[in-house]
Symmetry: C2
Subunit: 321 residues, 2 copies
DNA sequence: AATTACTGTTCCATATTTGGAACAATATTG
DNA sequence: CAATATTGTTCCAAATATGGAACAGTAATT
């Protein structure tokens, strides 16, 4: 005879905790003693064990007012109850373990450029300070969904910090500017105004919106937004930089990435009196009361070290560009 | 740093069932699916898992409206939760096993004489009919405390069935009478009235009350109780019978035990017109809604077979004695 | 023998938990 | 692209479990 509803051997028991309590009662030799160590009223204990027996249809303990006697079934039953307790303790232990000190894996996502410039210089110090933490670095320029990608922390560069259900921590400003090669300027002339660039070949990162535009602001406050059609689109900023240096067109890049090329005379800044929006490098992570120590210390470490690391790299400064 | 109160690594968890429910949620891939198979509202499931996470201070699952993602901790945690479920199922299985059909051990206590005469003739048939049942036969003439002696069924012979918290099932009447040897009567004369026995040597079973008395009833209704001081006290009825046959005195014995000796002329009945109280052979067992099949079938078997077995042994008949 | 201390169970006003409906968010379908 | 279906979470009246006190029974002590 088959019962469809019971095919996957479901547990009839209403409350598995009763098994643990039963084991405690047996191990302490009495309801009262068990109740004291469990810090549960003995009336509750008595009722729950009685309920359990009724539920199972079997007597587990025979009781005198002074002594308990395990039935044969109770004795066999007990072994499995003790396994339940041990497994529950092991489960709890897992959670204690990762909360005791920073340990375990932290997944952090970051745009390519940030990863390759800032993070690589910061990470070694972190990994040395927290030897039990593993970092899983996901590099992508696409906006990541923290939950779906199972990412603990995401680094982002945006003109403004969007509010969402995530916690955002500001790190450092990240200035961008238009660059091209000196030779390119010799060919096309030096632009005085954004509109002078309207027909110039351009390069860009990929934007999934499909809208390619520069938003300029003059020092005296005037601002203008112009669309452009890039001839080369790639998320690899190193490629963009190289292409610009090889006279392929104008490109918007983080200032700090171009400092070396400028010193070498391979790139020059275009329209230096017009500013592009200064992006904010920040990180986001889901709010959780129980943020794991490993994640917490990485957050703290980034907040602590990012400004100086960015300073060394000249992230925010565009004074001499 | 030590916490006295936590020395015996108590479980912080309030409800172990949550571990099983967490495992179900993961295994079914969603709260809704798990709620359906567990037949629990999803609101309850959602709240309980959230409570569990709060209790542990750790995130186990990251949730989208459409998909669940185990955290690293959750993944390790899960293994132990599955162990909890398996152990709980095993525990439950133990109780199902003994309820499925008659199996396991049954402890029955019985007075020596009953054991040696009636039970030995009944047991083989029972053991054959129920091959998975083991019988643990405790022979004693002392009154047993069913719980302390861990006895499932006790056979007793008493003048009347005492009421107690136990269930009593009447089996057969068990008549006793006074016996002695023909030679003894020749020496002491044939008594006509109980008082004629006042100085006669007597034999008896042990009574822990210390009160040794015979209660006679005449056929016409007269009754008399007389005390006596036994010269031999033993619980071994075979010894008493032998002692009486060897002219040591008068003894009260179950009629059926003496039939053979009477036929052989080794014993005769004393005061045949006076009756001793007819004892009731009955059994007692604790009331339990969930009496195990093994115990139940032994009870039923005794009720079924005892009368005929007693008939063969002539337990109740004293017509020819 | 009487007293004391402790057992497991029962009782019932109180505190907690439950679960159906409403909700916000996301896939799937028409 | 709107409509539908299904997800996990929240809310709060209603159902349930709790736990201190009273109880009945037993062992040790006086």
């Amino acid at each position: 005879m088959f019962y469809e509803g019971k095919a996957q051997r479901g547990l009839d028991m209403k409350d598995i905790t009763n098994l643990a309590w039963f084991a405690h009662v047996v191990e302490h030799g009495s309801f009262s003693a068990a109740a004291r160590t469990l810090r549960v009223p003995k009336s509750t204990l008595s009722r729950r064990i009685a309920d359990l027996e009724e539920e199972l249809g079997v007597r587990l303990l025979n009781r005198t007012t002074r002594k308990l006697y395990l039935t044969d079934v109770g004795r066999e039953f007990l072994v499995h109850c003790q396994t339940v307790v041990a497994a529950a303790e092991a489960a709890e232990q897992v959670t204690h373990f990762v909360q005791e000190k920073p340990r375990g894996k932290v997944r952090i996502s970051s745009p390519y450029a940030i990863s390759q410039s800032l993070l690589v210089s910061i990470m070694p110090g972190f990994l040395k300070r927290y030897p039990d933490v593993q970092i899983d670095l996901v590099m992508t320029n696409k906006p990541v969904n923290l939950i779906e990608e199972q990412v603990d922390i995401a680094l982002r560069v945006r003109p403004t910090i969007e509010d969402s259900s995530l916690i955002a921590r500001d790190l450092v400003p990240s200035a961008s500017a238009l660059f091209t090669s000196p030779e390119f300027l010799q060919t096309h002339g030096v632009p005085e105004h954004p509109l002078d660039l309207s027909d110039w070949p351009s390069l860009s990162m990929h934007y999934s919106s499909g809208r390619y535009q520069w938003s300029f602001t003059a020092q005296h406050g005037e601002s203008i937004t112009m669309n452009y059609q890039p001839r080369l689109i790639t998320d690899d900023l190193w490629v963009l930089r190289e292409a610009a240096a090889e006279h392929q067109g104008v490109v918007s890049l983080p200032v700090y990435l171009c400092r070396e090329y400028i010193d070498q005379g391979r790139l020059v800044r275009v329209l230096p009196s017009w500013r592009l929006p200064v992006g904010k490098l920040h990180m986001v992570y889901p709010y959780r009361r129980g943020l794991l120590p490993a994640v917490r210390v990485l957050i703290d470490y980034l907040v602590e070290c990012m400004p100086s690391a960015a300073g060394v790299a000249g992230l925010a400064t565009d004074s001499d560009a």
